[in-house]
């Protein structure tokens, strides 16, 4: 167990471990035997190792859902819902600013300076950034575009959605926690039967 010490500590501290945030630890967690060892260790702490549907992130879940755990989960769910709209808007902003038709994905490299430059040239992106940076979740007080972008990235790093490999360089990596967020959105959609469709329209070939 000793070799898993640092990993356990990070998991216990509430971190999400993915291939981007810690490749070696992630590969170890993909080994069922290691997962079982860790689970055994966590048992007296009423915790267990959990993952999302694709198995792209690992985190700790309550083993037994007692009242206290439910209380904490409700609070946490409330926090997540608070951050949901700004997070969705951020995802859309990134997609538009980079001219992609796919969302940012784990491992993508983001450079705030580059993104600021794109927003500067585009009034609509500029407004989107302004709106989301001012949201309580990101909490930017600044009117400067660069500062807003910086604050947004800082908060995303604090929340584990982004990783900054070198503290002196403004280059960020998207972590697997983004997958978790997308899964959560899908869960809410399914649980509440929301009219949100994610199936692609039938391709022309298959119509012919």
């Amino acid at each position: 167990m000793i070799e898993h010490g640092p990993l356990l500590e990070r998991l216990l501290a509430g971190e999400f471990v993915c291939a981007v945030s810690d490749d070696r630890a992630f590969r170890r967690l993909e080994d069922e035997e290691v997962r079982e060892q860790i689970d055994t260790y966590l048992r007296p702490l009423n915790r267990r190792l959990a993952t999302n549907a694709e198995g792209s992130v690992y985190f700790l879940a309550w083993r037994q859902l007692n009242d206290e755990a439910r209380e904490q989960l409700s609070r946490q769910l409330g926090d997540v819902l608070h951050s949901l709209m700004p997070m969705l808007e951020w995802l859309q902003l990134m997609q538009e600013a980079m001219g992609h038709d796919a969302l940012v994905a784990p491992g993508d490299v983001l450079k705030p300076a580059e993104l600021s430059a794109r927003c500067e040239d585009n009034q609509s992106l500029r407004e989107q950034l302004e709106r989301l940076a001012g949201d309580n979740f990101f909490g930017s007080q600044s009117e400067q575009l660069d500062a807003q972008m910086k604050q947004v990235f800082k908060r995303l790093k604090e929340h584990g959605y982004l990783l900054q490999p070198h503290t002196d360089r403004q280059v960020y990596l998207v972590t697997g926690k983004i997958d978790y967020l997308v899964d959560l959105v899908r869960l809410i959609r399914d649980e509440e039967n929301l009219p949100v469709d994610d199936e692609s329209p039938q391709t022309q070939e298959s119509l012919l």
């Binding site: 946490q76 997540v80 859309q92 796919a102 969302l103």
Partner: protein, 419 residues
């Protein structure tokens, strides 16, 4: 007769080579115009003289699809350029196995014929063409597979939209199916029968071709599975993007939407079950002998504090100083109270002397409360024999009608015998 035929064939060959060189040179000479024809629809004619155009048409490098229309690149030339540039948007996958096999059959028969008639030169020529046919077939598969890998490894980077990537991936998968179908056409039983006992043909058409075909087969299967994987990823990306934009649109329309509290359900969804953070804290401990050395080392490694060195006298622990300051004040208070007692003895007053009045007349700065407290404490601290020499009157009142707490407002001290 035979000699003439051989000479004719030699002449024919050298004429072919001459024309070939001439026509290949046309490609280089008109490279600009031809490349413009490659990137646009038509070959621009302004740059070409009439005779140049005639030569290009004769070499079938360009052609005129209809009399009124412009001049376009011949399909083969377009393919050649696409192949040279590894231009995945236009590169074609065309293994044409059926036709090649037909050619192989014909060539094997000619080869046999030449062999039986002892025409060695013609036999050699047929063998050469056979080798070329097999190499071409092999090369076409290798090219096709290379093109597929290129597209795969670049994530279909030559198109930017996800929808185009999905369509391109689909097209590539269909090409693979066609290539696999092509490989199926190569029937080794038939080839074994065709080559008979001829060792050269056997080596070329059986062992070499078999090895190559099995390699292509493996590569194609590999590319196919990777393409399927990539397709799944493209579809997943597309679905994620649609999900997020759909949800964002929904939330914008319904700003007051609140989902249920899944944590209160009997069956909590796994995804939201995320345990509270737990910090595994630790502090230096000295109850484990071997650790003490480590701790000592660590302490030694601590950076030296940046304070200026202090004199030994001033470097007393701050707490001790605080304590002694309190003690000094306590002592001063006690002395002042003793002076009050002495004053009572020196100026005997039958009415006694009020402690508060004494305090106010003096220039002492003690608080009323602490002064009274010390006066009473001093009285109680006297030996019983000396206590009898004084009388201490407390002027006091009840705190309230319902509270029997006695509040002392002042004390008066007088000598017992003066009363």
């Amino acid at each position: 007769m035979k000699e003439f035929a051989v000479r004719d064939e030699h002449e024919l060959e050298s004429r072919l080579i001459g024309t070939g060189v001439e026509r290949l040179a046309l490609l280089g000479k008109h490279a600009d115009a031809l490349m413009q024809g490659y990137s646009r629809d038509e070959v621009p004619l302004e740059a070409l003289s009439d005779s140049a155009l005639r030569r290009l048409l004769a070499a079938r490098i360009v052609w005129r699809p209809d009399e009124q229309g412009g001049v376009k690149l011949a399909p083969r030339v377009r393919e050649l350029i696409a192949e040279m540039l590894a231009d995945e948007t236009r590169r074609q996958v065309n293994a044409d196995v059926g036709e090649t096999l037909e050619l192989v059959r014909t060539l094997v028969q000619s080869y046999r014929e030449a062999q039986s008639q002892g025409e060695y030169w013609r036999q050699e020529q047929q063998l050469l063409r056979l080798r070329q046919a097999v190499d071409d077939l092999n090369g076409r598969f290798a090219d096709a597979i290379d093109s597929l890998w290129q597209r795969l490894n670049s994530d279909f980077g030559f198109v930017s939209r996800l929808n185009d990537k999905i369509r391109e991936n689909d097209r590539a998968q269909k090409q693979i199916v066609r290539l696999l179908d092509g490989l199926q056409l190569i029937d080794f039983d038939e080839l074994i029968e065709l080559v008979g006992s001829d060792g050269t043909l056997r080596k070329l058409l059986i062992s070499q071709l078999q090895r190559q075909v099995s390699q292509h087969y493996t590569s194609l299967r590999e590319v196919q599975s990777r393409l399927t994987e990539l397709m799944a990823r493209f579809r997943q990306q597309q679905s994620r993007s649609r999900l997020i934009s759909g949800m964002a649109a929904f939330l914008r329309e319904h700003p007051n939407f609140v989902p249920g509290n899944y944590a209160r359900r009997s069956d909590v969804p796994d995804l939201i079950n995320q345990a509270a953070p737990l910090i595994a804290a630790a502090a230096p401990a000295q109850d484990h002998e071997p650790d003490i050395h480590v701790l000592t080392d660590l302490v030694h490694q601590l950076p030296t504090p940046v304070h200026k060195p202090q004199t030994v006298a001033a470097a007393r622990p701050a707490e001790a100083e605080e304590q002694s300051r309190v003690a000094a004040r306590q002592q001063a208070l006690k002395q002042d109270v003793e002076s009050f007692y002495l004053a009572v003895i020196d100026h005997p007053d039958p009415m006694g002397i009020s402690a508060l009045a004494y305090l106010q007349e003096s220039d002492m700065e003690w608080g009323d409360e602490i002064w009274l407290f010390q006066v009473i404490a001093e009285y109680q601290g006297l030996p019983r024999s000396e206590q009898r020499a004084f009388q201490l009157h407390q002027s006091e009142s009840q705190a309230s009608r319902f509270n029997d707490l006695r509040l002392i407002h002042d004390v008066t001290l007088q000598l017992a015998n003066s009363a």
